[in-house]
């Protein structure tokens, strides 16, 4: 039993932390809110150069062949810095789908470009008033010969406006399918959403969009199985991101409480404040360990569905709590936009809501714990 990372993983951590200090300080995070593109090309290129885009892609395709533990370290650091980039949708979700379900030709077409930062793929999963389970995929995919026609509406698609492809989940007569859709194709209409973190997410309206069969991924009707598998890894990454955010919020609030003086003493010397922070510190250590366990379980090839859901649920809530406590500790100044803590507060809540909300995660965990087949 060992809770330490390997020296190589620790080196990755310091590399990413250093990268984030240079490329993603708070000034950049602020600049990207509401920004037309939503990420810095220089940041994205350096990510590629550092091998971070192909971190988990096979070495034969230009990746680093690393696994869930390394992705966890990466995401913890990205979360700590609130680093704005299309990494998650492209390098974790889309790359993961292509890795599991892509044909040799599809892998050849995309892996190299993904690893080099020359392509962005935006995942289009959720739909208006629909949940996160398979039944929520109601966009239709109708096949005629070697062409599919897609119709429906997708929401919360990140970076759709700069994507080379949209990875779209749609339902055929056989089940859920996965398609790589050109956002510039006829029948695709993008509308930017206004989000609580100012990041570029889109409504994607699909109105009779033609997609060749060669752009469909995997076994017909088995798209949901692939998506679920990739989502497991995604949930762990987001759990790590949440814990990185939470850790930083704790550090900021703790430091503030040592500097802010009221009643003749630093406010951190008052028990109410000290105890808030002690509670958060406890949740942060526990949440990190839960995320690490989920990542390790995935890395070992063991069933990780329950742990992945738990990791995202607990980390998401711990992060929300940490940032809420931090806002409280910052007092009136924390309410002012110029102070950085609010950057964490808004993103913490947002992270709970995206890529598997609490209802979805709770149901997954409950099914695993309570239902007979879930053992």
């Amino acid at each position: 039993m060992d809770l330490n990372f390997t020296p190589e993983q620790e080196m990755l951590r310091s590399t990413v932390r250093d990268f984030c200090k240079r490329r993603s300080p708070p000034a950049v995070v602020r600049e990207m809110e509401g920004h037309e593109i939503g990420y810095s090309q220089a940041l994205w290129q350096e990510m590629a150069d550092l091998g971070l885009l192909g971190l988990a892609l096979p070495e034969a395709c230009g990746g680093l062949g690393q696994g869930p533990l390394e992705l966890t370290v990466l995401y913890e650091e990205l979360g700590r810095a609130l680093c704005p980039s299309p990494h998650f949708t492209t390098a974790v979700l889309a790359a993961g789908v292509i890795q599991r379900a892509g044909s040799a030709a599809q892998r050849d077409a995309w892996f190299g470009r993904l690893a080099e930062g020359k392509a962005i793929i935006a995942c289009a999963w959720l739909e208006p008033d629909r949940g996160c389970e398979a039944a929520g995929v109601q966009a239709t995919a109708v096949r005629s010969g070697d062409t599919w026609t897609l119709a429906g509406t997708k929401l919360f698609v990140p970076f759709a406006h700069v994507a080379d492809r949209l990875l779209v989940l749609a339902r055929s007569t056989e089940g859920v399918e996965l398609f790589l859709v050109d956002p510039k194709a006829v029948g695709v209409r993008l509308s930017r959403l206004v989000t609580m973190a100012g990041d570029p997410q889109f409504e994607v309206a699909l109105d009779g969009v033609s997609v060749p069969e060669t752009e469909r991924l995997g076994v017909p009707g088995q798209g949901w199985t692939t998506w679920e598998e990739v989502l497991q890894l995604g949930l762990v990454c987001l759990g790590a991101q949440a814990m990185g955010m939470a850790q930083m919020a704790l550090e900021m609030a703790t430091q503030y409480s040592k500097e802010r003086v009221q009643f003749g003493r630093p406010i951190g010397s008052f028990q109410a404040i000290a105890h808030y922070l002690a509670d958060v510190a406890t949740e942060v250590e526990g949440g990190k360990t839960l995320v690490y366990q989920a990542a390790w379980t995935l890395a070992e090839g063991l069933p990780a569905g329950r742990l992945a859901a738990m990791a995202k649920l607990y980390a998401g809530e711990s992060c929300r709590h940490a940032t809420a406590v931090a806002q409280q500790v910052y007092g009136g100044m924390g309410f002012i936009k110029d102070v950085d803590i609010q950057l964490y507060f808004r993103r913490a809540k947002q992270l709970q809501l995206l890529w598997g909300d609490a209802r979805f995660l709770e149901e997954r965990i409950a099914a695993s714990v309570l239902d007979p087949a879930g053992d």
Binding site: M1, D2, L3, N4, F5, T6, P7, L69, T254, S257, K258, R265, P266, G268, S269, F270, Q271, I273, A274, H275, L277, A278, D279, A281, T282, E285, G286, G287, T289, L290, Y292, Q293, A295, W296, T297, R306, L307, M310, L313, Y314, R359, L361, E362, E363, R364, I365, A366, A367, V369, L370, D371, P372
Partner: protein, 391 residues
Amino acid sequence: MAALNFTFEPEVETFRQEVRDFIAENLNAEVLSDAELGLAFGPKSRGFVRKMGERGWLSLTWPERFGGRNLSAIYNYVLVEELNYGGAPGPGNAGAVVAPTLIRRGTPWQQEFFLPKIRTGEIEFALGFSEPEAGSDLAALQLRAVPDGDHFVLGGQKRFTSTAHCSQYIWLAARTDPNLPRHKGVSLIIVPIDLPGITVVPLWTIADGRTNEVFFDNVRVPREYLVGELNQGFAYIAEGLADERYALIPVGQTLRQFEALVDWVRGARRDGRPLAQDPRVRQAIARLACEIEVARLHKLRVLHQHTGGENANIASSMSKLSRTHTEQRLDSLALDLMGAAGQLCRGSPHVQADGWFEFEYRASVLMTIGGGSSEIQKDIIARRFLGLERQ
């Protein structure tokens, strides 16, 4: 080389199974009838502890010169966790608190006299720390130990000396020098419970159990019973807590309670439909499941740091906070899910889950108080981990 790993070595797992087999064979209703709050045990459970002693399980981590096997703390952790999980008596204060301190600080005579009896499970010690005016503020303790020739004369009172009624000795913190600063004039003294002048008075708890007040009226205890050096008591206590804290608050019972709750939910029906299908129940169980797993992992953190030679104080404080508050939430939730039937006690018609959760709801009140209250744990984390000044 360091690398994340959430499994234990095969030898450790083999030992775990041995302990489980032992519990299955030896734990019965009679042994259990002594159990009070899971902290104390009495004459009926003594036989169970003695059998563990025969197997060398009460001295796993002791140096070989004291009859131990010099094993890693992981073995102690597994033993204590499995016993706690199985609802069985643990090594008691003798094994968890007294023996490690005697090994570190005891005089040769004390080591020769007490360690063999602790090893075999023959003797138990009641912890005599708290007093009416000294709870969280232990340094306020007033019980005097006045030197008188080759004896100390003890005078004063202890409170919450929980196992005094079934222990042979008291592990006593007494003030030996009232002129030194509060936390420096205290000594640890072993006191045979049958010395003249000692009166044990029961205090009955809301957990159907017993703790005690102990009155000392001119009790003469030989100087040989002073542990280590004079006026070093606080340092020894602090040292002991740092090393043994991982053994004192196991999470096994919390895990077992969660399993029992899940079992109960799976079998429960409301208006002809399974309760396990109710979305509100599913949500609550899912959230609790996360907290339970985190409580388990906090304990692993303590073990990891302790076996790695680090000071596991902070991890221990966090572990106690996590486990105790989670268990309190679990017990309250269990009764919520049972509805009105949750109020029924063991033995009542229509009682649910043998009244276990109703009992634990009462018993769990002490968990966030005894062994260092949650407020003290948070102060420790705030000051020593976050570096915040004290008020």
